[in-house]
Amino acid sequence: MSSAHDKATIERHGLNDEEYQRIVKALGREPSLTELGIFSVMWSEHCSYKSSRVHLRNLPTTGPRVLQGPGENAGAVDIGEGLAAVFKIESHNHPSFIEPYQGAATGVGGIIRDIFTMGARPIALMNSLRFGELDDPRVRRNMEGVVAGIAGYGNSIGIPTVGGEIAFEECYSGNPLVNVFCLGLAKADEIVKGVAKGTGNPVYYVGSKTGRDGIHGATMASAEFDENSAEKRPAVQVGDPFMEKLLLEACLEVMTTDALIGIQDMGAAGLTCSTCEMGSRGGAGIDIDVAHVPQRETGMTAYEIMLSESQERMLLVVKRGREREVEDVFEKWDLHAAHIGEVTDDGLMRVRERGTVVAEIPTGALTDDAPVYKRPMATPSYLADVQKLSLPDRPPTDDVEALRALLASPAIASKRWVYRQYDHMVRTNTLVLPGMGAGVVRVKGTNRALALSVDGNGRYCYLDPYRGAVLAVIEAARNVACAGAEPIGATNCLNFGNPERPEIMWQFGRAVEGITAACKALDIPITGGNVSLYNETDGRAIYPTPVLGVVGLLEDSSKVLGRCFAASGDRIVLLGESRHEFGGSEYLKVLQSVVAGMPPEVDLHAERALQQLLVLAAREGLLRSAHDCAEGGLAVTLAECSFGTGGVGLTVDVSAAHAPAAWASASTLFSESASRVIVSATTENVGALLARAKALGVPAREIGTTGTGRISVSINGRNAIDIAVGDAEAIWDGALGKFFKQRAA
């Protein structure tokens, strides 16, 4: 077919010599240029998971509720009453650096397609974002674009963005993270697969026309950035949420006809990935002719058509003889379904150009038989130094000043400036609004509700990837439990640097071990996810940042809890054990510009008991509010419980931490010990709550009452903090928006 390619061509395709020889062996001949392009994208890190696969195999992926584990477009878990929660998280980091608005927008579009492809109606979005520090105007511009892009896509298509999390660290300034989570609902026995089966069944293409945009996007996402990265803009695609809305409605309608065999969206690696993956899953071949593919531009080659990453496109396999029904549905939505080929029985992905075969590759060679690397790992040299933490003789500032500074820190401050731009109420299911705890959406037609949380802490993972990853899992699960929901499934987005560097690969391996241990201990299966590597700019990697998305189930949606105190006169109870732990804390970063020490210790048994208590107490109606103790420690958590309540305050007295005398009060207030929750209960119920805690072995101490309009915290009887709720709330509420003040509200 074609003679050998020169070294430069092979290199440009991101393939090394060994991989090229592997291609020649798989084909039994030299590949054509089109075939080389196809192998290049399918064997890219982004599509093949070649560096991560050996580690991901260890994740717990099964459980009684799991209907679909990793390997499909999204995972699915049984939520009862014949329904399934279908969900996944995915990154769009690289495009969001190059073109923030479109990069983030198409990230939203991609994950939504993954969900409705499974036959599920998307009902909620969340996101986890990382940026550099906001005093850098380029970072503000990037963040403004990303937030607008997420809003522009999600709002238009009409799926509420019900929450998320954002953190700011210098290491993300040249490599922001945009991880988007989507949840959908499907009938448990009507989940649709991305499979091609049945020789002679027609293959349809529907959606936007194919253009030259995004060619080699997957390859781009598998390389590091340097100063020339802005020149990669043509590899970023432009989103069209209206087209996706039509596709969403039309595809869900087609799925009701039972004329469909399988369906897959064209995301990374476009038509290439969808054809070979569908064929491979069904053990079938696919024969398509690119001349039938609707094209936006003239003169496109087979190579370009196969590698384009134009957005909002779907590939369908339809039962032969039922074509008309399917075509009619798409016509109703003013979409044209193009018949581009057939399913075959030879296991080959055959691509023609006006009849002439230009590529012929066994589908398995592109998918299951892609290279898998066990890359070398080495403990990073920085680690020993940063894990050492020697606190100064005394804290740098007094406790009230420290609280004010922490409340104004962008990581802790209210994210209202962000979520106000997201439609978070469309579909009228949102029971807990953004900023009020885990996102919670009810399931119409049942009494049930689903709680969602995405969490990760790059700083902790930088200091200890294993413990940091454990903390990410338990925090996401705990947030869901704080809403009163039982965690039933998780998805992960693993954002790391260049896996070819042993130190990065070590971070990755340790983090996956941490996720595995925590998920096993809490009995939460991972049903899918995404790996984003090569997050580096000019040779500097981001903090290792695994982000966990956890889904929880509330059988009675009326029992849902938020973080806010409900009324004056309720009892406040601290669950969990406080220790002197400042490693990687927000306190050290904000007040001392130090990122060092070991992240907080974790006892997974204690964590599990704590979450069981929360779910049980919520179910019994013993709680009025629950809020996880995270960045900023106890003082920030207590303050947050009183924000958004119209000024319900609190008076508490806690016992001093075991810490050096000068640090005792700062440690009591701002230490970030894990597995702690602030709950409130009525006077009537507090006894029962404490009894349940005791029975489950969860440390629980009644520390005070709600009311008075002030945040008043004493330590062993001595008042340490006393500030009006309104004053504290004004700092917290306005801090983020101040960075973007150039225009009036």
């Binding site: 809305k245 949102t430 029971l431």
Partner: protein, 241 residues
């Protein structure tokens, strides 16, 4: 009573309006696809929120040409109650069923949050059951809700008592701070001269149950049901024909 919920390509609050009418209010509700030309005997029509045709041009500018809009026009001309919510309001403006136009929010960003509006007129089919000056808490979610019109038109609106809702603070006072998008005179919603066509930017269908934050919007749908039961809709229609 039968509600028709019009579905334009890109409508995304169609299910919410349908749910509010059918499940919360217990009335009959039907989706009507924008290519249809018949409202199938509906007693009230809702143009729901969303991004019809993507709103890539001016909001509502393409939807006004949908075949169903002729039927909506005829229905409105006969005095039938028509409610345009958010994008539905924008479509009614583009279709000339209500006067004025929308500009981008003055903050140039999409805004989604609960706001307070004051009911200025209670003699429309959708405010019939409200108290005069009643303050309702409902969500907004839009990028182009900055209502604008000419001084002459504004005078006419005021003279004819066509301003139905104003953005206010929780105490019911219209302040600059309580105006979320820069709308002229804090206008959140208006009605037609004959009062049967009402458009507003806030989402009453998202405020029909306490569990999702507010049930203040329910009174708007209850209004039209009560008006229908009392026969005042037909009376209003025939009186003004």
């Amino acid at each position: 009573m039968r509600f028709a919920v019009i579905v334009f390509p890109g409508s995304n609050c169609d299910h919410d309006a349908y749910y509010a009418a059918k499940e919360v209010l217990g009335q009959q509700a039907e989706f009507v696809w924008h290519k249809e030309t018949d409202l199938r005997g509906a007693d009230a029509v809702i143009l729901p929120g969303g991004f019809s045709h993507g709103d890539y041009l001016r909001t509502g500018a393409i939807a006004r040409f949908s075949p169903v809009m002729d039927a909506v026009r005829t229905f409105a001309a006969g005095g039938g109650p028509v409610l345009g919510i958010c994008n539905g309001f924008q479509i009614l403006l583009e279709a000339g069923l209500l006067p004025g136009a929308m500009l981008r929010n003055r903050g140039l960003k999409f805004v989604c949050e609960h706001v307070h509006v004051r009911v200025e007129q209670t003699d429309t089919p959708f405010t019939f059951a409200c108290r005069s000056q009643q303050v309702l808490r409902m969500p907004i979610a839009h990028g182009e809700g900055n209502y604008f019109t000419t001084p002459e038109e504004l005078r006419r609106l005021e003279q004819n008592r066509q301003i139905v809702f104003r953005y206010v603070d929780p105490a019911g006072v219209a302040t600059d701070e309580s105006n979320p998008n820069g709308s002229l005179q804090s206008i959140a919603g208006i009605c037609s001269e004959r009062r049967n066509v009402v458009g507003l930017m806030p989402h009453p269908e998202r405020a029909c149950e306490l569990s999702i934050g507010s049930r203040d919007g329910l009174v708007m749908l209850e209004s039209v049901v009560k008006a229908h039961a009392a026969g005042t809709l037909a009376a209003a229609g025939s009186a003004s024909v």
